[in-house]
């Protein structure tokens, strides 16, 4: 905050170390595990936390003598083997995980006690009748589909369809007087333009993913996102439509005659089912990660002001009892869509 920076020159302000005057919390076990329907193994990280003023690196907190147990609420399930790689446990199970299973995962350490996490295995999500049309004038792609007809368990909080696309931009290079030296290829554009009258069944949760080897930008920052709640919205029907902002597919002429263009190379849908824990964890971590980027600035006094005065702190969701971390259940079904736009 520049005002405070200015006032610092007017008043004599100071920074000083102070003793911690709150309660001390003992370290606890940290469980971070991911489960997927249909798989017969679980990747589980077990480490321990440390007090926030403990200067030691937490990466050194690899624990030995950790015992992990897994049980299922619906059937017999146990760990056949525990392959340890640092703090990463690859747990081979006696049976595949099935949708609807409530899994209890506990980790025990002689010094840090027992931490227990619980979550429900989510079912697969296979949409039907997918179609894609593009409005090249408005730079939008509309993806419609039908939700699966089988009922979802009550634990399902949201269905997320993430649109993963890659595209290539041709960017001119400058010579010493900032004029372009490379010309770009001419594209043929689609003339499709669709009007959608009914938006009652639509929700949009859009996200981008990154893929190596391509220049990629972010175009979905301002899309309002909300999970689909089957208890209320599913009764409206099975139709689901997504609106995706795509890069402008035309040609932009910039200064000194340089030309920019973009083309979409592929489009892929990642259809995921999330439970409440997953939803809470991801949203809290997303908020936390935004704030964390500010921490990367030099540790000067201004950054501390901007960190604390611009954004709210974030409470990280955890479904681990007597510990920290998260036990996540997800299903992901990737659908690749080809040949959808350009001739």
């Amino acid at each position: 905050m520049y005002i405070l920076y200015l006032l610092m020159f007017l008043f004599t302000a100071c920074e000083r170390e102070i003793p911690y005057n709150g309660d001390y919390q003992d370290p606890k076990l940290v469980i971070q595990a991911l489960m997927r329907s249909g798989e017969d193994s679980i990747v589980c990280y077990v480490s321990r936390s440390s007090f926030f003023l403990d200067g030691k690196s937490v990466q050194s907190q690899v624990l030995e003598d950790v015992t992990i147990q897994i049980t299922s609420s619906t059937r017999e399930l146990h760990i056949l083997s525990d392959k340890l790689d640092g703090d990463k446990h690859i747990l081979q199970l006696s049976a595949s995980l099935q949708a609807g299973d409530t899994i209890l995962l506990s980790a025990t350490h002689p010094e840090y006690g027992t931490a227990v996490a619980r979550d429900i295995i989510m079912p697969e999500f296979v949409p039907e009748g997918i179609s894609v049309v593009v409005d090249s004038i408005d730079s939008k792609a509309y993806i419609s589909m039908l939700l699966p007809e089988y009922p979802f368990p009550k634990s399902v909080v949201g269905v997320y369809v993430r649109v993963h696309y890659t595209y290539t931009s041709v960017v001119p290079r400058y010579n010493s007087d900032h004029t372009a030296v490379n010309q770009m290829d001419t594209l043929v554009h689609s003339d499709n333009s669709i009007e959608f009258k009914s938006r009652d069944d639509i929700f949009a949760l859009l996200d981008n993913d990154y893929d190596n080897g391509y220049y990629i930008g972010r175009y979905t920052d301002n899309i309002y996102r909300r999970p689909l709640s089957f208890h209320t919205d599913y009764s409206k029907g099975r139709k689901l439509m997504l609106e995706v902002d795509v890069p402008y597919l035309g040609t932009i002429e910039r200064s000194a005659g340089s030309m920019y263009s973009t083309r979409i190379d592929s489009l892929r849908l990642l259809c995921e089912i999330h439970g409440e824990s997953y939803n809470d964890f991801i949203s809290s971590m997303q908020a936390y990660m935004v704030k964390r980027v500010d921490d990367r600035n030099d540790a000067n006094i201004i950054s501390y002001f901007s960190e604390r005065m611009d954004m709210e702190q974030t409470t990280i969701f955890s479904n681990v009892e007597n510990g920290y971390g998260i036990l996540l259940s997800e299903t992901a079904n990737a659908i690749t869509i080809r040949d959808w736009i350009l001739q």
């Binding site: 520049y2 005002i3 007017l10 302000a13 100071c14 926030f52 964890f281 611009d310 709210e312 974030t314």
Partner: protein, 821 residues
Amino acid sequence: MKQLVCLILSVQTLIVAAKNSTISGYVTDSQTGERLIGATVHDLHSGAGTVTNVNGFYSLTLSSDTVLLQAGFVGYNAVRTEAFMLQGDTSLVIALNTSNILQEVVVERTHSISGVQSVQMSTMDVPMSQIKGIPMLGGEVDVLKALQLLPGVQSGAEGTAGLYVRGGGPDENLIMLDGVPLYSVNHALGFFSIFNADAVKSVTLYEGNFPARYGGRLSSIVDVRQKDGDAYGYHGSLNIGLIATKLSIEGPIFWTKEDWQKFRNKEEIKAQTTFNISARRTLYDLIIPPIMKHLSAKPGTEKETTGNYWFYDVNAKLTHIFSDNDKLSGSFYMGEDHVNMDISGMQTVSTQMGDGSSHKESMSDENRLQYHWGNIFAALNYEHRFNGRLYGDVQFSYTRYKYALASTYNQEYEKVGVSMEWFNKFDSYIMDMTAQMNFEWRPNIRHEVHFGGSYAYHLFKPQIGHQEFSSIKGDTETYHVDTTFSLGGTNRMHVATLYIEDNYAPCSWLKMNIGLHAALYHTEDKTYPSVEPRIGVRFLPHRDVAIKMSYAYMSQYVHMLSNSSVSQPTDLWVPVTKDIPPMRSMQVATGVAYTICNQVELSVEGYYKKMINLLEYKDGASYMNGQNWQTQVCVGDGWSYGVQLLAQRKIGPVTGWIGYTWSRTMRQFDREGQVINFGKPFPAKYDREHDLSITMQYRIDRIWEVAATFVYGTGTRGTLGLQKYDDKLYTDRFDKNTGTTTVYYISERNNYKMPDYHRLDLGVTCHLPDKNHDNMEHMLNLSVYNAYCRFNPYLVYPKDGKLYQFSLFPIMPSLSYVFKF
């Protein structure tokens, strides 16, 4: 049985109303003609009494034939009339002389109308003479900071003027200047309020038991009134201090040559028209730039940083008294803050060529940041006395608050003659136009009825952005793009209110204030009605002891979104919408008030307040991230409870008060889709369990005056992640580019209590009359803020495995000179 007697008496009272007579008029300052607010007038024979209203008007309906009136006000000698026969309605103006405060005060053991005897509880009335004597930061007298020293009121961050009243946030206070509500009443991050103490006549704080005439905010009413101006002569003061220089002038305006001649001949003549102008400006812009430039210079670079900050404000009031029955006044305020910062430098950069080679060239850049924000308001008020029992006023007002944040970044490549400029601007704007009418009617000895209504048109433009980019080669603009966008839209709101309240005293030991405030908020095709009952009851088992109880239901149609306890110009005022409902509160309070020898007032009060539809930012939210503010907030509830103790002395050579509050304030956001802290209750940011303020002023003799203030408070709340661990899942799957993430696990919002806050302020003032002019005075004030240099925490944060605090103000002496004429 007693109740039945009271009821019979009240019925008889109504029947015999026609036989009563009314004495009405004004209580004024004999030297300036200024009408006094809150002065007491009572009849020593019957014991009946009243206080003057915000226009200095009083009305006393009496049944007795013989009347012996006594009028009094803090800082003035009480005046007693001779006993006289009351024959019909009578008009009487009572002029009071300022008292010699060095004299030991002998106070008649009369029935004091204010304090104990008043039905009004949870109300603080601090005389301006006391406020001006309190030692303050930088020697700058501040009305709102003085209110922070009262029980039930807490400050936010160190040195700021925000008010947190009984668990409510700083936006839950209806702060009015001459009856006009204002937004963002702070300069410089809230270190100083916009109220120039030299222009203020009175300030009253209501923490509960809100009279029905007030509405629109949940937690408090701060009613600030400006002076009308001296009707007999010209006066003023010049104040040169560390923070600002102030000039105040007041005086009469004579419209005829004859009146001017009489005035020049030093004949006593009271003008019908008076004016009062006060202006204030900081001197920071003379000091800061060279200091910043010197301290920011880095050897080996051509980087230069300059900055500047300054504020000004102007208060003005023009009053014309047509007759004893009619008065017209116009009030005006304008004030602005400006912050400029400029960081410029030159560096050598490497530019990549089309053939893959690179060359070096000079690039100069400049980063300019400009903030400015401010208020402007204007009001026209007309008062009319219909008769001794009915008084009314009508007011039209205009208020506008605006801030703008602009940043410009410019790059210039010297060799190729190309420059590029990025410009961003962010505006927020609020405008109100209001019309209101208020009436007071005293039909008989038992009833005092207030009624009226208002209409207000509000225009909110909370988030307007403008961006531009241009590139220039030589003298030719080769590229330009600009866009203006609105994230919060434009909100128009209409607010209509009606109210009626009755101060009803069926008998001497029982008094009630029963009122109803009704409001209608209309915005975005949605209408929110609000019916708000207000009840206050006072029992008087003994004439010096009162037991009081109250209930108040309030609603609020605007919110201020702020991420911190520091008032920032970028705090966003937003209205209710079709999705964001009005906030509401219900408060009950009970207490006992006791007067010792009519000099010291003691009170103990307990309260409980429930608030609903409060707004808080979501976890990780910030409205500066380019999203509509409505998507960044959650709606939830809160509650607050506590006990307050106050011992106050307003008269005599030693004045001041001791105030203590024990309280808790909690929040809970557990509505579907609007969960904070996982739906669990958490302490509010300003949940400070203990709060103690002791302030004292002692006038030793005619020359010397000393003052001291001690404050102690439990530390404010902050959020710390107390445990940390390495994230494995999220970074690996969703955010590969960020590397290993250390997660500081925050189990609860506001889980950390900062170290306790306490400080001692001292002040000494020397009053020196001018040797050559009797009406002139020189005052030299030396004050020391934080006299024992306590490093109170402003921010607390972990760094490198240790905990650090940042403190803002160590010991801060200041010197100011005041010339009064």
